[in-house]
Symmetry: C2
C-alpha cells in the first residue's frame, strides 16, 4: 500500500495538561484522608466490612477527582489469578463465519465475568508462542489446535491456566478439545456429488498457506466418502486470484472432472466464473459445490450449492470454558462440534 500519510497541523487547543504521574490508591487515600485499606473496601464494595456513608462518599469523590483507575496487573498479582481468557488473534482473516463466532464467544464470556483478550502472535512458532501466552497468566486459553502442541499445553498449565481448550480438526494431548473435523464437511460434499451422479470429482485445495489445516481434512473426507465406489477423486490446487482460476479453467477439459468441491464459497465463486468464461456449462458439464453458506452464493447464476457449517454457539462454548475453569482436575473432554449439511441450489 503506497499511500503516504499527510500531516495536517493541529488546530490550537487547550494547553496540554501537566504530565502528572499515575494516581494510585494511596493518592486517593491521602486525598480522602483515610487509609489505603479503606479505599480498597469502598471501591470494591467489600461486603464483609461496613464503611460509613460519609467516608464512602469522600473516597468516591477523591477517586473521581484524581481520575483513579485500579491497576489490573497489581490486582491480579496480589490475587494470584486473573479472569483473563486468552485466544490468539487469527493470523488470516477467516471470513464472516469465524468473526461472528468470536463475537458471540466474547459476549458470552463477558456475561460470565471473564475478560477476553486476543493476543497477536506474529512469527512465534509453537512453544515460543505458548510461552508468550503463559507470561500473561490467563485463567484459560482457547486456541486452534494447529498452534499448540502437547508441550505447549503443559507450559500453559504449569503457568496456572486452569483451562486449555483447543479447537480444530485434531485433539491435543492434555487439553480439552472442540473437535471440528472438517472430514465431515468433505464427507458431506462427497456423498452429495456422488448422489447427483457425479463420478470424477475434483476437490479444490487453496494454494494459500495457513489453510492446509482445513483443506487437507476436507479433501480426505471426500476421499473417504467415495472409497469403495467407482468414483475418482482429484485434488486441484487453486490460488485466490483470477489468473490462477483462468489457468485452471483452461486445463479443465484435460482434467476430465464432472464435479468440483471448491473448499468454500469464495473459491467456488472464483472458479465458477472462470469455468463459465471458458465455456464450461454449470451444472451440466461440471457441478460446483461451495462451503460456508455465504449470502453471496445465492446471488450467483446458477445459484451456488453449498455445505452449511454449524458451529457451536458462543454460549455453549463459554459454558464449557467456565466448567473447565471451575473444575480443572477433570479429565480432558472431547466434543464433536461441527455439523455439516448440504444446501442444494442450482450449481449441483
Amino acid at each position: 500500500m503506497p499511500y503516504v500519510m499527510v500531516h495536517i497541523p493541529k488546530p490550537p487547543s487547550a494547553a496540554s495538561p501537566v504530565p502528572r504521574s499515575v494516581p494510585t490508591s494511596a493518592d486517593v487515600a491521602r486525598l480522602a484522608g483515610v487509609s489505603r485499606a479503606t479505599v480498597s473496601y469502598v471501591l470494591n464494595n467489600t461486603s464483609a466490612v461496613r464503611i460509613s456513608e460519609p467516608t464512602r462518599r469522600r473516597v468516591h469523590e477523591a477517586a473521581k477527582e484524581l481520575g483513579y483507575v485500579p491497576h489490573a496487573a497489581a490486582r491480579s498479582l496480589r490475587a494470584g489469578h486473573s479472569r483473563m481468557v486468552l485466544m490468539p488473534a487469527p493470523a488470516i482473516a477467516m471470513g464472516p463465519l469465524y468473526g461472528q463466532f468470536i463475537n458471540e464467544l466474547q459476549w458470552a464470556l463477558s456475561r460470565l465475568d471473564y475478560t477476553v483478550v486476543q493476543y497477536g502472535t506474529v512469527g512465534l512458532r509453537g512453544d515460543e508462542a505458548a510461552r508468550a501466552w503463559a507470561e500473561l497468566r490467563p485463567v484459560a486459553v482457547l486456541v486452534p489446535d494447529a498452534e499448540l502442541g502437547p508441550e505447549g499445553v503443559a507450559v500453559l498449565k504449569r503457568a496456572g491456566a486452569r483451562g486449555v481448550v483447543t479447537f480444530g480438526p485434531e485433539r491435543v494431548e492434555g487439553a480439552h478439545a472442540l473437535l471440528m473435523d472438517h472430514d465431515a464437511v468433505g464427507h458431506c460434499a462427497g456423498r452429495h456429488l456422488y448422489a447427483r451422479g457425479r463420478r470424477r470429482i475434483g476437490v479444490v485445495v487453496p494454494a494459500e498457506t495457513g489453510l492446509e489445516t482445513y483443506s487437507r481434512p476436507r479433501l480426505e473426507g471426500v476421499r473417504q466418502a467415495l472409497r469403495g465406489t467407482d468414483a475418482r477423486v482429484t485434488g486441484v490446487p487453486l490460488a485466490y486470484t483470477e489468473q490462477s482460476a483462468a489457468e485452471l479453467a483452461a486445463r479443465w477439459p484435460e482434467l476430465g472432472i464432472d464435479a468440483v468441491f471448491a473448499y468454500n464459497d469464495e473459491y467456488a465463486m472464483l472458479l465458477m466464473r472462470a469455468l463459465q468464461d471458458a465455456g464450461v456449462r454449470i451444472p451440466e458439464d461440471t457441478a460446483v459445490l461451495g462451503a460456508d453458506d455465504l449470502m453471496l452464493g445465492r446471488l450467483l447464476r446458477p445459484r451456488l450449492s453449498t455445505i452449511h457449517i454449524d458451529l457451536p454457539s458462543g454460549r455453549e462454548l463459554a459454558e464449557l470454558v467456565d466448567r473447565v475453569v471451575r473444575d480443572p482436575g477433570a479429565e480432558p473432554e472431547t466434543h464433536r462440534v461441527l455439523g455439516a449439511s448440504v444446501v442444494q441450489r442450482e450449481s449441483s
Copy 2:
C-alpha cells in the same frame, strides 16, 4: 445456532500431573543454588553484570526443568510500564480489508517490540470502556474514534498511556488522529457518477446498526460532490438480506434513480442481483457502484465498478505509534490517511 455438543469419552492417557504451584524465579534460584538477582540477570541477559558461564548454564537448566515462565504482570508492575498496545476487538466483522489492516499492523508493531492485545469490550459504552482499557496500563491505545470521547482520552492518559491514536472519520480532542474521512469515498463516487452523465443518484445506507459511522459521511460526501449541480441525491436504506433487496428493487421505478452508490461491494452485489431480477438493466437503466474493490466484484456480470480504498500500511501506522510513544509530549497530530480512487469496470 442449535447445534449440540456431543461428548466423546476421553481415551486413556498419561496420569494427570500433580497440580504443582506455578514456579517463580525464586524456585529457579533455589534449584540452581543462586540468588534471585542472579536468575534475573541470567534470564534477561543483563549486560551490565557479568555472570560466569557455569552459573548461567545452571540457571538455564533449572528454569527449563521447572518450566519457568516469567510473570508479565509482576514484571510490568516493577518496571512501571509495559509495551502493550491495546486495540478493541471489532464488534462487527468488518470485512477482509480491515482484517488485513489489523494483521499488518500487528506484525509491524511486533517488529518494534510491542505486544498487540485486542480487548473484547462488550456492552461497555464510552468512558466505561476507556476505564476498562486503562486498567491494563497500555503504553498506547489505538481505537476507532467512535468508541472514545475526549474524557476517555484523558482517562487513558492519566493511566499512563503515552500514545492515544484514534482512527475514523473524526478527530478526538487530545488524541492523535488518523483521519479516514469517508466523505472522500462518497465524494469520489459522486463525481464519477456525475461524470458518467447520471443525475438522479441513490446512495445505499445499510440498515444494520454500527455502520452509521461510515455510511453517514459517505452519503454526505456524495451530497457535497454534487452540491450546486443539477443532480439529485437520495439516501436509500437497505438491509443485508435478499428480501430487503427484493423489496427495494420492486420500488425501483418509482424512485426514479439512474445510478446508485451502494455503500460497499457486498451491498452492491446484493442490490445489483435484485435489480437484475426485477428487470432493471445495468448499467443502461441504472449504474451501480460499490466500494472496497473486493475480488468478488470482478466476477459479476457486468463487472462491478468500485471505489478502491487505500489504507495506510501497517508499517507506517506502527511507526506513528512508536513515534508518539517515544515523544508523548508532542502536540496531537492529524493525518489524512484514506485514499479513494475509482475503479471503473462495467456496471457504471
